[in-house]
Every structure is written in C-alpha cells, then in structure tokens.
C-alpha cells in the first residue's frame, strides 16, 4: 500500500543559514495516527511546513499518497489539511468566512462548501460565534476554528501542529474523541504535541525528532513497553540530561 507520507533525506536550510531539518526520513502508513514528538526547535514545524508547502525544502523528497509534494504540489496539497501551531488567519474575518474561503481555495463549489461549513460550525460548537470576527474569540474557540478550517475539504491526511496548546480540559477531551472518530473513518493523522499523555492516548506510531533528524521511531506499544515508558524514551531520544532521564525512569 502507498504510504500516506513518505519523506526521504529531507533537508531544510533557512536563508539565515540555520539547518532546521537535517537528512530526515520518515514513513507514515495510510490510516495511521502518528505522533511526532520533539523539543522546541527540533524541526517538527519546519518538517510540517515542508510537507504542506509553507516552506520550500532545500533537498530531499516528500510524497503524499505517492504524489510528489514539490513537483505536483497542487495535487499533493489537495490531500492535506493543516491545523498550524500559530494562528495564520485574517483576524478581521468572521468564523464562517474563514472556513468558507478555505473551502473555496480548495475548489469546493458553493453548495458543497455551505454544507461543509455548516456541518463543521455545528460539529465544533461554533454556531453562536459564526458571525464573530476571529479576533473576538477566546483561545480555545480560535483553535476550534483552525481545526474546522483544516477539515473543510475533507482531506485524506490531517496534520495537527500542537492542536491542544492553550485549550481547556473539556475541549481537549472533545477534540481527542473527534480525532479518534476521524481516524477510525480512515483519515491519516499526523499530530505534534508536547503532551505525552495525549500522544499515548491517541497515536499508534510515534516518531521522535531531535536536531532536525528522526532519532527514534516505533509503535506506541514499543515505546510504552520500554523501561521508563514513553517519557524515558523521549528524553533518551532527545539527548536530555541524565538526571532528567533518571527522574523519569524512577
């Protein structure tokens, strides 16, 4: 079966000379719920930006369901929905405009777009806020809007860059349930998070990135089954201080 994401020898060097991603190779199978872990500045967001087209890879190859993400970028992008870590939204636009415009960029016709926008606004409990400007919303509501926006074109691959950062417990639980539903329906999900319990709860496969490279990859069972569990494995893979590792294993 063609993998959902296949990255080989990806390298991204910014104009400043910073090498954010260094010879990264990664495969995510279709239908997987993949946890992408790593400390701040490890290269998670840059890798996601290269997959989605926000950043241009310096070298290497990225395929989305077998489609080259650079050469056939338009075809590849149709397959991906992105909920970014930072809000990249016209803050003066209303909730329904933001979701509707995204559907438009993806070529959805007006009737289909309306149906999808209405469904997502309801699904994410945004009905009372649909006509409000994005800047008027609380942090949790903003997060729901960008998630709804990511789903408007019903992508096969959903990329969530820290989707629960700054979100209250109730919404986080709702979101987890919803993501599991989507995954059960066949969507492949790539999730980055700093909450290890979130990754443990949701993901089937986990990859850890450090210094722009994948330092450890395996199934959740392998990580949890190792001495000290996921936290210990994470600290080891990211080259954390020995006392931190000892504390985690204790």
């Amino acid at each position: 079966m063609t993998p959902a994401v296949s990255i080989s020898h990806l390298e991204k060097v910014y104009r400043s000379g910073t090498k954010a991603v260094n010879d990264l190779s990664l495969t995510i199978q279709e239908g997987d719920f993949f946890g992408f872990l790593g400390p701040n500045g490890a290269g998670k967001s840059t890798t996601i930006h290269c997959i989605t087209g926000i950043a241009k890879p310096t070298s290497g190859k990225i395929e989305i369901f077998g489609v080259d993400a650079v050469k056939d970028y338009r075809e590849a992008r149709r397959l991906i929905g992105l909920s970014p870590q930072e809000f990249n939204v016209d803050t003066f636009a209303t909730v329904s405009q933001i979701i509707d415009w995204m559907g438009g960029y993806f070529g959805l016709r007006a009737a289909e777009r309306k149906e999808r926008v209405d469904m997502l606004i309801e699904k994410f409990d945004l009905v009372p806020h649909a006509k409000k400007q994005f800047r008027e919303l609380s942090g949790g509501l903003k997060r729901r809007v960008v998630l709804a926006r990511a789903l408007v074109h019903d992508p096969r691959l959903l990329i969530l860059d820290e989707p629960t950062a700054g979100v209250d417990v109730e919404l986080r639980r709702d979101l987890w349930r919803y993501l599991l539903e989507l995954n059960a329906e066949g969507k492949t999900i790539l999730l980055t998070s700093h909450y290890l319990e979130e990754v443990e709860r949701l993901c089937r496969t986990i990859g850890i990135i450090s210094g722009g490279k994948i330092t450890k990859q395996g199934t959740k069972a392998e990580f949890i089954g190792s001495a000290g569990g996921l936290e210990n494995a994470y600290l080891m893979a990211t080259g954390a201080e020995p006392d931190h590792i000892a504390a985690a294993g204790a």
Binding site: R74, E75, R78, D90, Q97, Y105, G107, R109, D154, E185
Partner: protein, 266 residues
C-alpha cells in the same frame, strides 16, 4: 462526514473557484475600509480638480484647444489610479504576510499564476471604481469627456496591472510599514508630478524635457489624456508598447519571485 478516502481525485485544471475566492476575500477586506479605499482618493481628486482645475485653471488659457480643467483631469485620474493600484497591491500582500494568512493560499491547490491573477483582479477593480468616481466628479465640473472608451480602459487597466505588480514586489520585500511606503515616496509620487499631470512637455524648460521623455508616467498620463480629450504629445504606439512591455517584464519577475518563494516560503 468523510468522503470515500481511497477514491482518486479528479485532475485539477485551472482552479477557478480558488481564484474567485481570492477575489472574494480581497473584496471583503477592501469593503471593511471603504473610506480609505474609495472615499479618500475621491476627496483628494476633488480638491485637486477644484484648486488646480477650477480655481487656478480659470486663469490659464486653453491648451491645445482644451480648457485647463479638462487638461488636468486625466492626469489627476491617472495619479489616483496609480495610487489605488499600488496601495491595494502592497497592503494585500503585506497584510497576508504580516498576519500569516498567506499560508492559507500556500497550502491550497493554487498555482502561482492563479495567486497573482487573483491579487491583480482586485487591484484592477479598485482602480476602475476609483476612476469612475473621478470621472463623475469631473462631470460635476463639466470637465469629463471621452474620445475613446476602449483606449481609456486599456490605460486604466494596464497601468493598474503595472502598479499592482510593483506593489506585489514591494509587499514581498518589505519587512515593515516604512519600507512599504518607500517606493511611493521616493519614486511614484515624484515621477507622477513631473510626468505631465499639470503641464505639457512644451511648458518645461528645454533642458528639463528629457525628464518627461524618459519618464514612463509621462506616457501613461499622455495615453489617458488622449483617450479622454484627444490631446497627444508623444507617438501613442510607443507609449502602449512601453506599457505592455512593462506588464510582461514585471509579470515574469513576480511569477519568478512566487516560484522561488521569495518573501513567502521563508
């Protein structure tokens, strides 16, 4: 709620809906600031027409058989079109970068050409609305005439595309609001004023006439003036060719910048 995930997507041709969505979004953004976008240039043009055309122009003899107010109106109109196009284009691209919602289009299945055309479409629309308003103001002073509507549309459209493209370049390059206004302050405004808005080339001292002949704004204003009152100071095909060449060259430059990701994917 999901579609059949394994079904292959139909091959994407021109993303007309995506293109139209860029225009819809920009229309919505512009209509949030109608005073700034439309009323301000109309009031500014009204003052220019009143002071220079009506008050001062009343004491100036005719130029080429035309009243001075009729002579300056095309220049004022072109100045407003240039400003409208440049401001629309720079603010559009800069705010997309500043608030990062440019990423919405970068992750979407839109080609660079679709992104550029979408951006220019709104620029041309805003310029035409500005121009129509100024024609109406001119008509109130009895100064509006039209000798060639297609020629008029050619000049308004092509010049707004040129300044729309220049605005995209500046919007991609600028890293702050001050840089955003630099081209306007040091290049566009001075060249417009010496490009024949208020005077003919013959009125300039002989040693200064080269400024007019070497100034693209002179050809833009001259072309528009010809389309409105039939007054012409330069071989018209030269101005039209120069304008089309600028559209082509700037179009290629902007497309290359998008392709390289300059200011977009960094």
């Amino acid at each position: 709620m999901t579609n059949d995930n394994s079904a292959p997507l139909p091959r994407l041709g021109i993303n007309w809906i995506g293109l139209y969505t860029i225009i819809r979004r920009e229309y919505s953004r512009v209509m949030r600031v109608p005073i700034q976008a439309f009323l301000a240039p109309w009031i500014s043009a009204l003052l220019f027409i009143f002071v220079f055309g009506y008050v001062v122009g009343g004491r100036i003899s005719t130029i080429g058989g035309h009243r001075y107010i009729e002579f300056v109106l095309p220049g004022i109109l072109m100045m407003s079109v240039v400003n409208a196009a440049f401001l629309q284009s720079t603010s559009q691209i800069y705010f997309q970068r500043f608030l990062r919602y440019i990423e919405e289009t970068l992750v979407a299945p839109l080609s660079y050409v679709e992104m550029i055309i979408g951006s220019l479409a709104m620029t041309v629309f805003r310029s035409i609305v500005t121009a129509v308003g100024i024609l109406a103001i001119g008509a109130a002073f009895g100064a509006t005439s039209m000798s060639g509507i297609l020629e008029f549309l050619f000049w308004v459209t092509s010049v707004s595309i040129i300044f729309g493209l220049l605005g995209i370049i500046v919007g991609l390059w600028a890293n702050n609001f001050e840089q955003l206004t630099m081209l306007n302050v040091f290049f566009i405004a001075p060249l417009t004023f010496v490009g024949g808005v208020f005077n003919t080339v013959q009125m300039l001292p002989e040693w200064l006439r080269w400024i007019a002949w070497g100034n693209p704004f002179f050809y833009f204003i001259n072309g528009l003036r010809h389309s409105m009152i039939g007054f012409n100071e330069a071989p018209e095909p030269l101005g039209a060719l120069l304008t089309l060449a600028m559209v082509a060259i700037l179009g290629v430059v902007v497309w290359r910048l998008f392709e390289r990701g300059y200011g977009l994917r960094e």
